[in-house]
Protein backbone atom coordinates (compact mmCIF):
# COMPACT_ATOMS: atom_id res chain seq x y z
CA UNK A 1 0.00 0.00 0.00
CA UNK A 2 1.66 3.16 -1.19
CA UNK A 3 0.77 6.55 0.16
CA UNK A 4 0.92 9.16 -2.57
CA UNK A 5 0.46 12.88 -2.04
CA UNK A 6 0.18 15.35 -4.89
CA UNK A 7 1.07 18.85 -3.74
CA UNK A 8 -0.46 21.74 -5.62
CA UNK A 9 -2.91 24.55 -4.96
CA UNK A 10 -4.89 23.90 -8.09
CA UNK A 11 -3.09 25.32 -11.07
CA UNK A 12 -3.30 23.56 -14.41
CA UNK A 13 0.01 21.76 -13.95
CA UNK A 14 -1.05 20.47 -10.55
CA UNK A 15 -4.27 19.05 -11.94
CA UNK A 16 -2.41 17.42 -14.78
CA UNK A 17 0.01 15.86 -12.30
CA UNK A 18 -2.84 14.42 -10.26
CA UNK A 19 -4.53 13.09 -13.37
CA UNK A 20 -1.37 11.31 -14.48
CA UNK A 21 -0.76 9.83 -11.05
CA UNK A 22 -4.31 8.47 -10.91
CA UNK A 23 -4.00 7.13 -14.40
CA UNK A 24 -0.77 5.28 -13.66
CA UNK A 25 -2.15 3.84 -10.44
CA UNK A 26 -5.27 2.59 -12.18
CA UNK A 27 -3.31 1.09 -15.03
CA UNK A 28 -0.71 -0.61 -12.87
CA UNK A 29 -3.09 -2.02 -10.28
CA UNK A 30 -0.77 -1.01 -7.44
CA UNK A 31 -2.65 -0.43 -4.22
CA UNK A 32 -2.29 3.16 -3.18
CA UNK A 33 -4.05 6.05 -1.56
CA UNK A 34 -3.82 9.31 -3.44
CA UNK A 35 -4.34 12.55 -1.58
CA UNK A 36 -4.05 16.07 -2.86
CA UNK A 37 -2.49 18.72 -0.64
CA UNK A 38 -3.95 22.08 -1.60
CA UNK A 39 -3.29 24.13 1.51
CA UNK A 40 -0.28 26.42 1.22
CA UNK A 41 0.79 25.83 4.81
CA UNK A 42 0.63 22.09 4.31
CA UNK A 43 2.57 22.28 1.05
CA UNK A 44 5.27 24.46 2.59
CA UNK A 45 5.44 22.24 5.66
CA UNK A 46 6.35 19.25 3.52
CA UNK A 47 9.38 21.18 2.32
CA UNK A 48 7.97 21.70 -1.15
CA UNK A 49 9.17 24.96 -2.69
CA UNK A 50 7.84 24.57 -6.17
CA UNK A 51 4.57 22.99 -7.16
CA UNK A 52 3.46 20.62 -8.55
CA UNK A 53 5.22 18.11 -6.35
CA UNK A 54 4.71 14.42 -5.73
CA UNK A 55 5.47 12.65 -2.47
CA UNK A 56 5.43 8.88 -2.09
CA UNK A 57 5.51 7.33 1.37
CA UNK A 58 6.78 10.55 2.84
CA UNK A 59 9.54 11.20 0.33
CA UNK A 60 9.26 14.04 -2.15
CA UNK A 61 10.03 12.45 -5.49
CA UNK A 62 9.75 15.50 -7.68
CA UNK A 63 8.89 19.15 -7.46
CA UNK A 64 8.45 22.02 -9.85
CA UNK A 65 7.23 20.24 -12.95
CA UNK A 66 4.73 17.75 -14.23
CA UNK A 67 6.12 14.20 -14.14
CA UNK A 68 5.64 11.93 -17.12
CA UNK A 69 3.90 8.62 -16.63
CA UNK A 70 7.04 6.52 -16.89
CA UNK A 71 8.58 8.43 -14.01
CA UNK A 72 5.50 7.89 -11.87
CA UNK A 73 5.54 4.20 -12.75
CA UNK A 74 9.17 3.84 -11.71
CA UNK A 75 8.48 5.47 -8.32
CA UNK A 76 5.56 3.27 -7.42
CA UNK A 77 7.17 0.03 -8.49
CA UNK A 78 10.49 0.59 -6.72
CA UNK A 79 10.57 -0.43 -3.10
Amino acid sequence: MRNIIVYGPGCAKCKETERRVRHVIEASGVEATITKAVDFAEIAKAGVLATPAVGIDGIIKLSGRVPNEDEIKSWITER
Binding site: C11, A44, G47, A50, T51
Partner: protein, 357 residues
Protein backbone atom coordinates in the same frame (compact mmCIF):
# COMPACT_ATOMS: atom_id res chain seq x y z
CA UNK B 1 7.40 57.43 -47.17
CA UNK B 2 6.27 54.16 -45.75
CA UNK B 3 8.30 52.23 -48.25
CA UNK B 4 11.51 54.01 -47.36
CA UNK B 5 10.91 53.16 -43.74
CA UNK B 6 10.18 49.57 -44.55
CA UNK B 7 13.40 49.14 -46.41
CA UNK B 8 15.34 50.69 -43.58
CA UNK B 9 13.66 48.47 -41.01
CA UNK B 10 14.26 45.37 -43.04
CA UNK B 11 17.90 46.18 -43.39
CA UNK B 12 18.34 46.52 -39.67
CA UNK B 13 16.47 43.32 -39.08
CA UNK B 14 18.54 41.42 -41.56
CA UNK B 15 21.65 42.15 -39.54
CA UNK B 16 20.50 40.50 -36.36
CA UNK B 17 22.91 38.09 -34.87
CA UNK B 18 21.72 35.30 -32.69
CA UNK B 19 23.37 34.30 -29.49
CA UNK B 20 24.58 30.95 -30.58
CA UNK B 21 25.67 29.78 -27.18
CA UNK B 22 22.10 29.15 -26.16
CA UNK B 23 21.16 27.93 -29.58
CA UNK B 24 19.69 24.49 -29.59
CA UNK B 25 16.84 23.31 -31.67
CA UNK B 26 13.66 21.67 -30.53
CA UNK B 27 14.04 18.63 -32.72
CA UNK B 28 16.87 16.57 -31.40
CA UNK B 29 17.38 12.88 -31.84
CA UNK B 30 16.40 10.68 -28.96
CA UNK B 31 19.74 8.95 -28.70
CA UNK B 32 21.98 10.04 -25.88
CA UNK B 33 25.05 11.17 -27.74
CA UNK B 34 23.71 12.12 -31.12
CA UNK B 35 22.64 15.45 -29.68
CA UNK B 36 26.04 17.03 -30.14
CA UNK B 37 26.24 16.83 -33.97
CA UNK B 38 22.45 16.96 -34.14
CA UNK B 39 22.44 20.18 -32.16
CA UNK B 40 25.06 21.79 -34.36
CA UNK B 41 23.17 20.87 -37.54
CA UNK B 42 19.92 22.13 -36.04
CA UNK B 43 21.46 25.45 -35.03
CA UNK B 44 22.98 25.92 -38.46
CA UNK B 45 19.66 25.16 -40.15
CA UNK B 46 17.87 27.50 -37.78
CA UNK B 47 20.32 30.28 -38.49
CA UNK B 48 20.13 29.87 -42.27
CA UNK B 49 16.34 29.99 -42.30
CA UNK B 50 16.36 32.95 -39.94
CA UNK B 51 18.74 34.90 -42.15
CA UNK B 52 16.64 34.29 -45.24
CA UNK B 53 13.30 35.20 -43.65
CA UNK B 54 13.32 38.84 -44.71
CA UNK B 55 13.93 38.21 -48.39
CA UNK B 56 11.58 35.24 -48.41
CA UNK B 57 8.67 37.17 -46.93
CA UNK B 58 9.38 40.16 -49.19
CA UNK B 59 9.11 37.86 -52.13
CA UNK B 60 5.90 36.31 -50.80
CA UNK B 61 4.18 39.60 -50.10
CA UNK B 62 5.32 41.69 -53.00
CA UNK B 63 6.01 39.25 -55.81
CA UNK B 64 3.72 36.30 -55.18
CA UNK B 65 0.73 38.19 -53.76
CA UNK B 66 1.53 41.20 -55.91
CA UNK B 67 1.00 43.70 -53.11
CA UNK B 68 2.45 47.15 -53.30
CA UNK B 69 5.00 48.00 -50.64
CA UNK B 70 3.73 51.52 -50.22
CA UNK B 71 0.08 50.62 -49.59
CA UNK B 72 -1.40 50.12 -46.12
CA UNK B 73 -2.34 46.54 -46.90
CA UNK B 74 1.04 45.75 -48.42
CA UNK B 75 3.06 46.90 -45.46
CA UNK B 76 0.66 45.26 -42.96
CA UNK B 77 0.78 41.89 -44.74
CA UNK B 78 4.53 42.03 -45.10
CA UNK B 79 4.87 42.79 -41.37
CA UNK B 80 2.62 39.86 -40.49
CA UNK B 81 4.39 37.42 -42.80
CA UNK B 82 7.83 38.43 -41.63
CA UNK B 83 7.29 38.86 -37.89
CA UNK B 84 5.26 35.72 -37.24
CA UNK B 85 7.87 33.13 -38.24
CA UNK B 86 10.66 35.33 -36.91
CA UNK B 87 9.17 35.70 -33.45
CA UNK B 88 8.17 32.04 -33.34
CA UNK B 89 11.67 30.94 -34.30
CA UNK B 90 13.25 33.18 -31.70
CA UNK B 91 10.78 31.98 -29.14
CA UNK B 92 11.46 28.29 -29.71
CA UNK B 93 15.19 28.84 -29.56
CA UNK B 94 15.09 31.00 -26.44
CA UNK B 95 12.60 28.91 -24.52
CA UNK B 96 14.61 25.81 -25.24
CA UNK B 97 17.83 27.44 -24.09
CA UNK B 98 16.25 28.86 -20.96
CA UNK B 99 14.61 25.52 -20.18
CA UNK B 100 18.06 23.94 -20.20
CA UNK B 101 19.64 26.72 -18.14
CA UNK B 102 16.84 26.41 -15.61
CA UNK B 103 17.57 22.76 -15.10
CA UNK B 104 20.67 23.98 -13.24
CA UNK B 105 18.74 26.21 -10.86
CA UNK B 106 16.22 24.63 -8.55
CA UNK B 107 14.38 26.61 -5.88
CA UNK B 108 16.19 24.49 -3.29
CA UNK B 109 19.57 25.50 -4.59
CA UNK B 110 18.50 29.14 -4.75
CA UNK B 111 17.30 29.01 -1.18
CA UNK B 112 20.55 27.47 -0.03
CA UNK B 113 22.43 30.32 -1.69
CA UNK B 114 20.18 32.97 -0.15
CA UNK B 115 19.82 31.59 3.36
CA UNK B 116 21.86 33.66 5.76
CA UNK B 117 22.65 36.29 3.14
CA UNK B 118 22.50 39.78 4.54
CA UNK B 119 20.38 42.58 3.15
CA UNK B 120 21.71 44.64 0.20
CA UNK B 121 24.12 42.03 -1.21
CA UNK B 122 21.41 39.45 -0.61
CA UNK B 123 18.87 41.60 -2.41
CA UNK B 124 21.05 41.80 -5.49
CA UNK B 125 21.78 38.08 -5.59
CA UNK B 126 18.10 37.34 -5.00
CA UNK B 127 17.01 39.59 -7.87
CA UNK B 128 19.47 37.89 -10.22
CA UNK B 129 18.45 34.41 -9.13
CA UNK B 130 14.82 35.38 -9.58
CA UNK B 131 15.42 35.58 -13.30
CA UNK B 132 16.77 32.06 -13.75
CA UNK B 133 15.02 30.03 -11.07
CA UNK B 134 11.97 28.31 -12.46
CA UNK B 135 8.78 28.75 -10.54
CA UNK B 136 5.21 29.37 -11.54
CA UNK B 137 2.85 31.81 -9.91
CA UNK B 138 1.02 29.10 -8.00
CA UNK B 139 4.29 28.20 -6.26
CA UNK B 140 4.82 31.74 -5.01
CA UNK B 141 3.28 31.13 -1.61
CA UNK B 142 4.95 27.83 -0.66
CA UNK B 143 8.17 29.33 -1.94
CA UNK B 144 7.67 32.42 0.20
CA UNK B 145 6.99 30.33 3.30
CA UNK B 146 9.87 27.99 2.56
CA UNK B 147 12.24 30.94 2.19
CA UNK B 148 11.30 33.03 5.21
CA UNK B 149 11.03 30.11 7.63
CA UNK B 150 14.51 28.89 6.77
CA UNK B 151 16.18 32.19 7.45
CA UNK B 152 16.11 34.07 4.17
CA UNK B 153 15.36 37.68 5.22
CA UNK B 154 11.94 38.97 4.21
CA UNK B 155 13.35 41.77 2.06
CA UNK B 156 15.65 39.37 0.23
CA UNK B 157 12.74 36.99 -0.37
CA UNK B 158 10.79 39.86 -1.86
CA UNK B 159 13.60 40.85 -4.18
CA UNK B 160 13.44 37.30 -5.48
CA UNK B 161 9.67 37.21 -5.80
CA UNK B 162 9.51 40.58 -7.54
CA UNK B 163 12.25 40.05 -10.06
CA UNK B 164 11.05 36.60 -11.07
CA UNK B 165 7.90 37.69 -12.91
CA UNK B 166 9.17 41.13 -13.84
CA UNK B 167 12.34 40.27 -15.65
CA UNK B 168 10.90 37.73 -17.99
CA UNK B 169 13.63 35.89 -19.86
CA UNK B 170 11.45 35.39 -22.90
CA UNK B 171 10.75 39.12 -23.02
CA UNK B 172 14.42 39.85 -22.50
CA UNK B 173 15.64 37.86 -25.45
CA UNK B 174 12.81 38.95 -27.71
CA UNK B 175 13.63 42.56 -26.90
CA UNK B 176 17.23 41.81 -27.71
CA UNK B 177 16.23 40.25 -31.01
CA UNK B 178 13.74 42.90 -32.09
CA UNK B 179 15.20 46.10 -30.70
CA UNK B 180 18.83 45.47 -29.91
CA UNK B 181 20.86 45.07 -26.75
CA UNK B 182 20.36 48.59 -25.41
CA UNK B 183 16.66 48.23 -24.88
CA UNK B 184 17.08 44.71 -23.55
CA UNK B 185 19.61 46.08 -21.05
CA UNK B 186 17.29 48.91 -20.02
CA UNK B 187 14.49 46.43 -19.49
CA UNK B 188 16.57 44.01 -17.43
CA UNK B 189 18.34 46.78 -15.55
CA UNK B 190 15.13 48.54 -14.55
CA UNK B 191 13.47 45.31 -13.48
CA UNK B 192 16.43 44.21 -11.38
CA UNK B 193 16.86 47.63 -9.84
CA UNK B 194 13.20 47.82 -8.83
CA UNK B 195 13.37 44.32 -7.33
CA UNK B 196 16.53 45.16 -5.38
CA UNK B 197 15.20 48.49 -4.12
CA UNK B 198 11.70 47.24 -3.31
CA UNK B 199 13.10 44.27 -1.39
CA UNK B 200 15.58 46.48 0.42
CA UNK B 201 12.85 48.94 1.42
CA UNK B 202 10.62 46.14 2.63
CA UNK B 203 13.52 44.85 4.71
CA UNK B 204 14.22 48.33 6.12
CA UNK B 205 10.60 48.90 7.04
CA UNK B 206 10.55 45.73 9.16
CA UNK B 207 7.51 44.45 7.37
CA UNK B 208 7.76 41.14 9.17
CA UNK B 209 4.94 42.27 11.43
CA UNK B 210 2.53 42.33 8.50
CA UNK B 211 3.15 38.73 7.57
CA UNK B 212 0.28 36.59 8.76
CA UNK B 213 1.38 34.82 11.96
CA UNK B 214 0.80 31.30 10.69
CA UNK B 215 3.54 31.72 8.13
CA UNK B 216 6.29 31.94 10.72
CA UNK B 217 4.54 29.32 12.82
CA UNK B 218 4.91 26.81 10.02
CA UNK B 219 7.39 24.13 10.89
CA UNK B 220 9.06 22.47 8.01
CA UNK B 221 9.47 18.74 8.04
CA UNK B 222 12.80 19.49 6.51
CA UNK B 223 12.72 16.55 4.24
CA UNK B 224 15.57 15.99 1.86
CA UNK B 225 16.01 18.27 -1.07
CA UNK B 226 14.74 16.81 -4.30
CA UNK B 227 17.83 17.03 -6.31
CA UNK B 228 19.07 14.19 -8.33
CA UNK B 229 21.87 15.09 -10.70
CA UNK B 230 20.74 15.41 -14.28
CA UNK B 231 22.67 14.39 -17.34
CA UNK B 232 22.68 16.32 -20.60
CA UNK B 233 20.03 14.28 -22.33
CA UNK B 234 17.72 15.03 -19.42
CA UNK B 235 18.50 18.73 -19.64
CA UNK B 236 17.64 18.61 -23.32
CA UNK B 237 14.39 16.93 -22.39
CA UNK B 238 13.74 19.82 -19.99
CA UNK B 239 14.32 22.27 -22.82
CA UNK B 240 11.98 20.36 -25.09
CA UNK B 241 9.28 20.22 -22.46
CA UNK B 242 9.66 23.93 -21.85
CA UNK B 243 9.15 24.56 -25.56
CA UNK B 244 6.07 22.38 -25.70
CA UNK B 245 4.70 23.98 -22.55
CA UNK B 246 5.42 27.63 -23.13
CA UNK B 247 5.26 27.92 -26.90
CA UNK B 248 2.12 25.78 -26.86
CA UNK B 249 0.60 28.26 -24.47
CA UNK B 250 1.69 31.54 -26.03
CA UNK B 251 1.65 30.99 -29.78
CA UNK B 252 -1.88 32.30 -30.07
CA UNK B 253 -0.99 35.48 -28.19
CA UNK B 254 2.07 35.90 -30.35
CA UNK B 255 0.05 35.75 -33.53
CA UNK B 256 -2.64 38.01 -32.10
CA UNK B 257 0.03 40.44 -30.96
CA UNK B 258 1.68 40.43 -34.35
CA UNK B 259 -1.67 40.90 -36.09
CA UNK B 260 -2.36 43.97 -33.95
CA UNK B 261 1.19 45.10 -34.59
CA UNK B 262 0.70 44.61 -38.32
CA UNK B 263 -2.45 46.73 -38.20
CA UNK B 264 -0.59 49.49 -36.38
CA UNK B 265 2.34 49.16 -38.71
CA UNK B 266 0.29 49.44 -41.87
CA UNK B 267 -2.56 51.73 -40.96
CA UNK B 268 -1.62 54.02 -38.08
CA UNK B 269 -0.08 57.22 -39.45
CA UNK B 270 3.52 58.08 -38.68
CA UNK B 271 4.00 59.92 -35.38
CA UNK B 272 0.41 59.33 -34.36
CA UNK B 273 1.59 57.57 -31.23
CA UNK B 274 3.98 60.37 -30.48
CA UNK B 275 0.99 62.54 -29.65
CA UNK B 276 -0.49 59.96 -27.25
CA UNK B 277 2.43 58.04 -25.81
CA UNK B 278 5.18 60.51 -26.64
CA UNK B 279 7.67 62.06 -24.26
CA UNK B 280 5.80 65.29 -23.67
CA UNK B 281 2.71 64.27 -21.79
CA UNK B 282 3.28 63.57 -18.08
CA UNK B 283 0.19 61.39 -17.86
CA UNK B 284 1.27 59.05 -20.61
CA UNK B 285 3.12 56.70 -18.26
CA UNK B 286 0.34 56.19 -15.66
CA UNK B 287 -2.20 55.85 -18.45
CA UNK B 288 -0.15 53.21 -20.21
CA UNK B 289 0.18 51.25 -16.95
CA UNK B 290 -3.55 51.53 -16.33
CA UNK B 291 -4.34 50.16 -19.75
CA UNK B 292 -1.70 47.49 -19.37
CA UNK B 293 -2.78 45.92 -16.06
CA UNK B 294 -6.10 44.36 -17.10
CA UNK B 295 -4.52 43.26 -20.35
CA UNK B 296 -2.44 40.71 -18.51
CA UNK B 297 -1.11 38.47 -21.18
CA UNK B 298 2.52 37.71 -21.71
CA UNK B 299 5.74 38.96 -23.07
CA UNK B 300 5.56 37.12 -26.33
CA UNK B 301 2.26 38.64 -27.33
CA UNK B 302 3.00 42.15 -26.23
CA UNK B 303 6.41 42.69 -27.75
CA UNK B 304 5.31 42.84 -31.39
CA UNK B 305 2.79 45.50 -30.34
CA UNK B 306 5.50 47.35 -28.49
CA UNK B 307 7.72 47.24 -31.53
CA UNK B 308 5.01 48.66 -33.77
CA UNK B 309 4.18 51.40 -31.25
CA UNK B 310 7.80 52.46 -31.08
CA UNK B 311 7.92 52.63 -34.84
CA UNK B 312 5.12 55.16 -34.69
CA UNK B 313 6.92 57.48 -32.34
CA UNK B 314 5.83 56.39 -28.86
CA UNK B 315 8.37 57.26 -26.16
CA UNK B 316 10.52 54.34 -25.08
CA UNK B 317 9.92 54.89 -21.36
CA UNK B 318 6.17 54.83 -21.74
CA UNK B 319 6.23 51.73 -23.87
CA UNK B 320 8.53 49.87 -21.48
CA UNK B 321 6.26 50.83 -18.58
CA UNK B 322 3.30 49.51 -20.51
CA UNK B 323 5.06 46.27 -21.25
CA UNK B 324 6.33 45.67 -17.73
CA UNK B 325 2.92 46.37 -16.24
CA UNK B 326 1.40 43.85 -18.60
CA UNK B 327 3.91 41.17 -17.70
CA UNK B 328 4.62 41.90 -14.06
CA UNK B 329 1.28 42.77 -12.53
CA UNK B 330 -1.28 40.10 -12.81
CA UNK B 331 -4.50 40.12 -10.91
CA UNK B 332 -4.59 36.37 -10.16
CA UNK B 333 -1.10 36.45 -8.71
CA UNK B 334 -1.95 39.33 -6.42
CA UNK B 335 -4.98 37.45 -5.15
CA UNK B 336 -2.98 34.34 -4.34
CA UNK B 337 -0.27 36.33 -2.56
CA UNK B 338 -2.91 38.15 -0.57
CA UNK B 339 -3.71 34.96 1.28
CA UNK B 340 -0.45 34.74 3.11
CA UNK B 341 0.82 38.30 3.14
CA UNK B 342 -2.22 40.03 4.44
CA UNK B 343 -3.72 42.97 2.67
CA UNK B 344 -1.12 45.59 3.53
CA UNK B 345 1.87 43.71 2.33
CA UNK B 346 0.33 42.56 -0.93
CA UNK B 347 -0.59 46.15 -1.64
CA UNK B 348 3.03 47.12 -1.10
CA UNK B 349 4.05 44.43 -3.52
CA UNK B 350 1.78 45.59 -6.31
CA UNK B 351 2.67 49.20 -5.61
CA UNK B 352 6.31 48.38 -5.91
CA UNK B 353 5.67 46.68 -9.22
CA UNK B 354 3.76 49.69 -10.41
CA UNK B 355 6.53 52.03 -9.34
CA UNK B 356 8.86 50.63 -11.90
CA UNK B 357 7.23 52.87 -14.43
Amino acid sequence: MASVEDVRMLKTKARFEIDETTAQSAQLPGSKWLFVPGGIVAIAAWYLVYRQLASLTDWLAFSLFGLNKSTHLGSAVQFLLFETPKVMMLLVLVVFGVGMIRSFFTPQRTRAILAGKRESAGNIVAALLGVVTPFCSCSAVPLFIGFVTTGVPLGVTFSFLISAPMVNEVALVLLFGLFGWRIAAIYAGTGLLIAVIAGWVIGRLKMERFVEPWVYATELDNSEAVGQELDWSERIRFGREAVRDIVGKVWLYVIAGIAVGAGIHGYVPENFMASIMGKGAWWSVPLAVLIGVPMYSNAAGIIPIVQALLGKGAALGTVLAFMMSVIGLSLPETIILRKSFGCRLSRYLSESLRLES
